[in-house]
């Protein structure tokens, strides 16, 4: 699943123009719609080293920027992943940036405006990002339940690219690339995904991603009964509510 991205709506153009104009980019879209995939493919295309940071509320700015480590009698500075990305001019990918702590987000501000620099408090050192450095962040606006939001002063630093799931033909082709199922099975899985995604009334927190289809396809190709593969690979994954699971299983039964 690692080095292919099926373009939907000029994603590659937007990404490249941001890169060449030194503008940071925000990817917005649901879980598993291909955000990480796009970043990985673009890193290869632009010949950039990719450094990925999964943001969360327990990560401190020291985790990202670096810290002094005591080794024997010496004190050694160790760059964190963000600092390494800036020094080496890499592609820095901040996954789910809205979940990061405030001090982390704020430390990234001078890196994402015209200054393009990172200030390391502990070393009292400012690092200028080389021309090749690019900062990409991702954000999932679909969580309904009042999750943390980005502040406007952070949001407005990024060009914003909305991403969504593939259409069924593209998704079917992607399943074929990534697994060894028959084209008929791939098509049935992609169609099933479309049906599930349309059924907003299922009240799912998030709907089926391509990843689930690929996992299910692998189990089917390995010999598992297709319905059971759909149950454990899709239905039981998406919900814990017996009624929703029942409805999803009915859809799966109709598909296979």
């Amino acid at each position: 699943m690692n080095n292919y991205f099926c373009e939907r709506n000029h994603e590659i153009e937007v990404f490249e123009r941001c890169y060449y104009n030194q503008l940071p980019l925000m990817l917005k879209g649901p879980t598993g719609c291909g955000k990480s995939q796009l970043v990985q493919v673009m890193a290869e295309r632009l010949k950039l080293h990719l450094i990925k940071v999964a943001c969360n509320e327990d990560t401190s700015s020291a985790d990202l920027l670096g810290r002094f480590l005591i080794k024997g009698a010496e004190t050694i500075w160790q760059d964190g992943p963000v600092t390494r990305a800036v020094r080496s001019g890499a592609l820095l990918y901040l996954d789910e940036v809205a979940e990061a702590r405030e001090d982390v987000v704020v430390a990234l501000h001078p890196l994402t405006d015209h200054r393009r620099e990172l200030y390391l408090d502990r070393l009292n050192e400012t690092i200028q990002a080389p021309a090749s450095f690019m900062c990409v962040a991702s954000f999932n606006p679909g969580y309904q339940q009042g999750f943390k939001e980005l502040k406007p002063s952070t949001r407005q630093r990024f060009v914003s690219l909305v991403m969504d799931y593939l259409n069924d033909e593209d998704e079917s082709n992607l399943i074929l690339r990534l697994t060894e199922v028959s084209s008929n099975e791939a098509r049935m899985l992609a169609k099933l995904a479309q049906k599930i995604r349309l059924l907003a009334e299922y009240n799912l927190k998030e709907t089926v991603s391509t990843r689930l289809l690929v996992n299910t396809a692998k189990l089917i190709h390995d010999g598992m009964e297709p319905r059971r593969a759909g149950y454990v690979g899709i239905a039981e994954v998406l919900s814990d509510d017996p009624e929703i699971i029942r409805a999803l299983k009915d859809l799966i039964d109709l598909s296979f």
Copy 2:
């Protein structure tokens, strides 16, 4: 109670197919339905070393991944249990993964997708999991009172296997395997369990698990009056509410 698992619904097949397709597996089900048991039996069957981590909100990622320890004048890195599991290609079992802290869950993300790798921040080292490595997590969807939930981006990484209690014949046989009570007593205990599980109106947070039946059987075989054994091994364990306890004791009185 340690090396036997009575299959209900293809649990072993699902587990094995996940293992051979390198897919992580999530076990969903109530306390004491046999999740840990399945994992232990599969570790033996697949000839894997089992490393179990009980997740909770007080465990930091350093506890799981490793830390530097100061020993005399030296600083020594000590792998945590997750790191040891990855390095050695073991079966890693994350019990009650929904209770883990965010940074712990996020650190497991690259381990549970196609990358199958673990990044050790402090060492700036990425460990590639060997083919034999498998990650299994457990989750109890039955807690009603708004306990922590898994984020979709975590959930959708796992194939999902729902588990439930044994039927009374299988449960009776299991009691016989694990204790020395008579087959009559075993059957009575299994029947009692079925009755309690059906009585949803008892408003129990969780219902009787096989473990309680085994404990009670041991006390009976040791000579304790059966009703008293049922009181201290089942009724008083399941509730603190005098009325519920009274109703459970009535059921026990009817059984013995």
Copy 3:
């Protein structure tokens, strides 16, 4: 008050059968009903060293399991009380276990199922409990105001023994054993206790324990006017509400 336990409802049998079947035991009951007393008496009877841990939300797992201490240039591991109990095969008493932090409770899980082992993260060492080791916990279900509860996955590990106050004859005898008051005074104190315990409408958070009767008896034997002894040893101890205190004092006045 230290080496006598007056049995009410087979407490000693249940305790012993748990001990010989290697089952952990949970004592449930109100403050001062004799839980600690039972444990102490059983430790002597079973010839076990008793290690008592008072659980509370500020105790970390390091406090219980052990930690590295820096002494001069050396780093020395120091076992905590739980680790010492396991290594030496002692009777471990976890008082008010429901108040412990999650990581503490979870660390005790492998110690309280068939594994009977303790894993020391920092040492990467697993200690197998010897046959003589027993784990007993206590829990007070009577706190009404939504205090912390035990999770089912913890609760169901223990055989559960409900305890209550002594009847007035037994309580009177106990007072005589522990103080030097006259048998008449002892009987009056025990009767007073029965009356207070029956008066549920007093809305007391907890009712009078034997400990209060013993304290009061000591003050009376030392020459304090009996009513005053009852006021400072019982009435003022049980409540801060002037009306409740007034009612309790009236009861005391009627008794002496």
Copy 4:
């Protein structure tokens, strides 16, 4: 204000009987009613060294029991005030014990029952209190707004002594002992205090203590206009509400 206590209701007898019967004592009463005064006077009378600990939510058990301090290359254990009190057989006074953290309160449990011992976790050492050691705690039940409460398992360890303000004659005499005002002025101040204390409708969080009368008396004797002294020493101290202050000032104007 330091070495005189005017007995109201057998306080000295209760204190002494607790001391000689090795029972811990809880003093209950409003701010400034003489709790600290009683303890200090009894320490002198019983010829005990007094160690006072002001409990609050920011004090850790290490602050009270002791800790290792690093001094140059050495690590030295330093006893905290509670440990020093136990080792030396002093009178330990825990002021406002209800505000202490849970781990602090729990560490005191074995010190306040028949065991009379203190366990020092870090040293793995148990100290037996000598016969002269006594533990006294104070507690203010008058705070209305849901302040922290003591758990029954803590409360029931102590004999409980309720204290209140002096009557006006005793209070007037006390003012004379502690300041140089005329007996007429002392009487007027004591009378004023009685009036304020009776006016429950003033909705004061706490009412006037003897300390305020003494401060006011000092200002008067130093030459301040009596009404102004009452304003700054009593009225403005008791409230921030302009209407209540106005009413208090009216009372003061009537008195002088």
Copy 5:
């Protein structure tokens, strides 16, 4: 603005009598009414070194009392500002004492009663305050929104002095002392302040302080158009609400 205080209501007498009677003093009043000014002037008058501590919820007692610092191989004790004040017999000013943490407030208790001593836990040392030492605290009762309150046991240690803004003549004279504006401009500024303070319906959190008038006067004297100076020095400072700002600007327009 530093060495002049315009007395309103015997502030200097109250301060001095407290000083000579060794009574701690609490200054109560709104922001900018001259509390700090009074303290500074009294320090000069009484020839005391002034040590000011701005209390806030992030200050620990170690910040105030002192701590061990590791310098090279040595451990050195460094007194905090409160300890230095006590040792040297200075005037200690605790600004906004209601915002201090509980452990800080409690550490000050023995310093503010007849004991006049400070206990340094870490050094196990008690420092007796010399006769010249005085403790003054400030407190702003005007914050409406449920800010932290002082506990009665803290409040009742202090004599309490209420302060308010100057009348317009005194305020006009003060502006003349501190800036170089004309007496006409000074009077207009003072009158403007009176008007704003009377308009309670403006719903301002706090009203205009002398400091704002002085800042505005400086801008006017430097050549700024008076209305603009009033806008940036007063109106925009007092509120963010467009309607309130509009009303304040109208008042300013009427004044100049």
Copy 6:
């Protein structure tokens, strides 16, 4: 975008008069209205070194004032950015000061009144700011959802300058200065911005800033279809709500 500021309402005059009268200045206005720009331009004009601190709730006062670092066997003091600004007489810019922690804000108090000094607790050193030092803070009153507010005692230290967006002619000129788009495109972008800003009913948390226009202009000049550039550079950046995005895109479609 770095060395040009287009004056709207005497911003430069107010800034300079504050500088020469040694008054601290607060800039109030929405995200991207030019606050940082003004500060940077004034630093150049006044020939001051600019030190910018982005305030947030995770920054401690040690981060800003300085700390001891252990390097090998030595302990070295390292000034934080605020201390460096004071020592060197720089222009200190505290961005979003309302988000700073209380201890940080309080440490700045003596720096922002007539004292103009900074106290370093750890060094027990007071630094007097040289004449060239100026403190500027920014604050965004537009966040509606109850974000933290500044306390009056902090607010009233600063002269207050309200800033808003440029009018469309000035904004169009600014776009031309900072990008290479045609003057026609610049005008269309500025007009679009005015339209969006007027539409209060869009319910945007913050409206479009000049930064977004500049980013969009860069993408257009690089060859991106103007509507797409507007979508990714403006519409998708400002909102996650599909209806609002749709309305913004309609406006963009009308513009190009």
